[in-house]
């Protein structure tokens, strides 16, 4: 469903088919819609068979990096006698991204079921669902659904009478984008500052509480029940393009389109049709100027790049950006890219956890230089300075927040040079007089 709009005939509603239906939020309503059959099936399966099924489906992480989910699960040790943990990443704070929120608001039991199946696969007794503090409504909906799942015996020390322990705890964040980074999230659950950890060790070796841990995004986990119910082959067959991009993806579209919202497409769906057909295109009299397709951390695309781009992992890379989280920001010709890039840089400067010099200083200086340019005090050499800074911020820090700040700056300067030139030519008269 292109929530809040009715399902468009060209969508493929798998995760979103019950969005907007209040009854789907309840245990009874969820069971009426086929809920918890997949969990019952998974309880009867060997953990490695669940992993094999998810591997064969081709499901990849929907949180941003697109790592194959089954493969990630297979990294978890077997028979090591240690407690294992699952973390469900519901921190959704990447500008442009608002799809996990709809999953939690409308189909909380889909997420609970997905977490439970993942727990069986990775042999984890407990899931911590980390929900960002600002998500008050999803938090309450999830709390209610979790209480119901416990009351119905779906969860607990003897989940569905299986003799297996499946527990879940909702942990509320308190305002820090960086806690969406997996190791920062583990620190935050442990009652620490949300600083990312140096890897290795990787979470599957030593994660939450020092124990083997898997972290998955809300949308990734919510996709698992359908895969178990309908089979890996069905899911793998959902693709309009590359065999490496399978299944459906929630794309949350915002900015200057007529119908912003969360749309579910089969991967490979033409980006142009998503914008013009599903979202109704630009406002009257406006034309497309730029698209950030995967949350603010990916490079900006030009209309030419959008033109023939399939919306999938490989296709978007081939057309100059990345699928990322699937948070799509659409900008029309009224947009000043320099201002928007400054605003994004300010976001990263605000959210940097400040433990790496290149990130702490780089995000702040990038913002300051862009602000100076916008104030009419820019110099032509500022562009080189920004590119040099961005280079120093890429691939040199503990996590990729720093790289994320550089992505829109570098792509912006290279692809939307006219906006920067226009900004530089708007030099304030007083400054001119001073030269």
């Amino acid at each position: 469903m292109g929530y809040p709009h009715p399902i468009h005939p060209r969508e493929t509603p798998v995760l979103s088919q019950h969005f907007g239906q209040a009854a789907a939020r309840t245990y009874t309503g969820w069971v009426e819609r086929g809920g918890y059959q997949a969990l019952r099936k998974a309880i009867g399966m060997a953990p490695d068979d669940i992993i094999a099924e998810v591997k064969a489906s081709g499901l990849r992480g929907r949180g941003g990096a697109g790592f194959p989910t089954g493969l990630k699960w297979s990294f978890m040790p077997k028979d090591d006698g240690k407690p294992h943990y699952l973390c469900c990443n519901a921190d959704e704070s990447e500008p442009g991204t608002f799809k996990d929120r709809e999953v939690m608001r409308w189909t909380p039991h889909a997420l609970i079921e997905g977490c439970a199946i993942a727990q069986l696969a990775i042999r984890a007794d407990v899931t911590y669902i980390y929900i960002r503090g600002e998500f008050t409504e999803p938090y309450h909906v999830m709390q209610r659904a979790l209480a119901e799942a416990y009351a119905e015996g779906v969860l607990g020390a003897n989940a569905l009478g299986s003799g297996k322990r499946i527990d879940m705890v909702i942990h509320r964040g308190a305002g820090a984008y960086i806690c969406g980074e997996e190791t920062a999230m583990m620190n935050s659950i442990e009652g620490r500052r949300g600083n990312p950890r140096i890897k290795p060790p990787f979470p599957a070796v030593a994660g939450l509480f020092g124990q083997p841990t898997t972290i998955n995004n809300v949308e990734t986990l919510a996709a698992v029940p359908a895969i178990i119910n309908r089979g890996a082959a069905w899911y793998a067959g959902l693709s309009l393009s590359s065999p490496k991009s399978t299944g459906t993806k929630l794309i949350s579209v915002c900015g200057h389109v007529q119908r912003p919202g969360t749309y579910e497409i089969t991967l490979g769906f033409p980006m142009k049709d998503l914008i013009y057909d599903l979202c109704g295109g630009m406002r009257p009299g406006r034309t497309l100027k730029a698209v950030i397709p995967g949350g603010s951390s990916v490079p900006i695309m030009t209309p030419d790049e959008v033109e023939a781009c399939p919306t999938d992992y490989e296709g978007i890379v081939a057309h100059g950006s990345m699928l990322g989280s699937g948070g799509m920001i659409v900008m029309d010709d009224s947009t000043d890219l320099v201002y928007q890039i400054m605003r994004l840089a300010r976001f990263y400067a605000h959210e940097s956890c400040a433990q790496c010099t290149n990130c702490r200083e780089g995000t702040a200086w990038t913002t300051r230089i862009l602000e100076r340019m916008l104030a009419g005090e820019g110099k032509q050499s500022d562009l080189d300075l920004l590119l040099d800074l961005s280079d120093q911020m890429t691939g040199k820090t503990i996590c990729v927040l720093s790289d994320s700040c550089a992505a829109p700056v570098v792509s912006g300067i290279h692809k939307f040079r006219a906006d920067f030139d226009a900004c530089l030519s708007r030099v304030r008269p007083a400054v001119m007089a001073g030269v």
């Binding site: 608002f98 600002e134 620490r192 509480f209």
Partner: protein, 166 residues
């Protein structure tokens, strides 16, 4: 507060709030992990997290006050100072910004009587702050008033919305 010194600290973790804290312990393998939820309980009960509250939390969780303060200051949603009776957060990050969020923020500041972002209105009723992406970018402009998440706020809607929060 008296003119000479402060009133003694009334424990926060008593009765219901203590019961809520104790219900958290079995959910985590150690007490330190209860810190974020414990700070939420404090804020729910008192509206902000005072130095006395920091000491009380530290004592309950076998941590030091400086450790608790170090964690507290990392997270922006905990109030380290008293705020207005109603706390308003408005998103002005790019996707909302390009759809008019800055006008909404300005209108909120004016109508609430706060005068400035981050300030509390003289009648103590409102505090308005600007925040980064609230995860609802398709519904510009989203704002939070206390725990109420409100979507698609326009400057025109501001007076009517504020009137709901006496």
């Amino acid at each position: 507060m008296t003119a000479h010194g402060t009133t003694p600290h009334q424990p926060i973790f008593a009765g219901d709030v203590l019961a809520k804290l104790e219900a958290l312990y079995p959910k985590y393998p150690d007490k330190r992990s209860v810190l974020l939820p414990a700070l939420w309980l404090v804020q729910e009960a008192r509206g902000w997290v005072s130095d006395d509250a920091v000491r009380e939390v530290a004592e309950r969780l076998d941590l030091t006050p400086s450790y608790v303060r170090g964690v507290l200051t990392f997270y922006t949603m905990y109030h380290k100072h008293p705020v207005g009776r109603h706390f308003i957060q408005v998103c002005t990050t790019s996707p909302c910004g390009m759809c008019g969020a800055e006008d909404v923020a300005r209108t909120l500041v004016e109508h609430s009587g706060c005068g400035d972002l981050g300030a509390t209105s003289p009648d103590g009723r409102f505090t308005v702050i600007e925040v980064e992406c609230l995860g609802a970018c398709g519904f510009p402009t989203p704002i939070l008033i206390d725990d109420d998440f409100i979507e698609s706020v326009t400057p025109e809607r501001v007076p009517e919305l504020l009137a709901r929060y006496p």
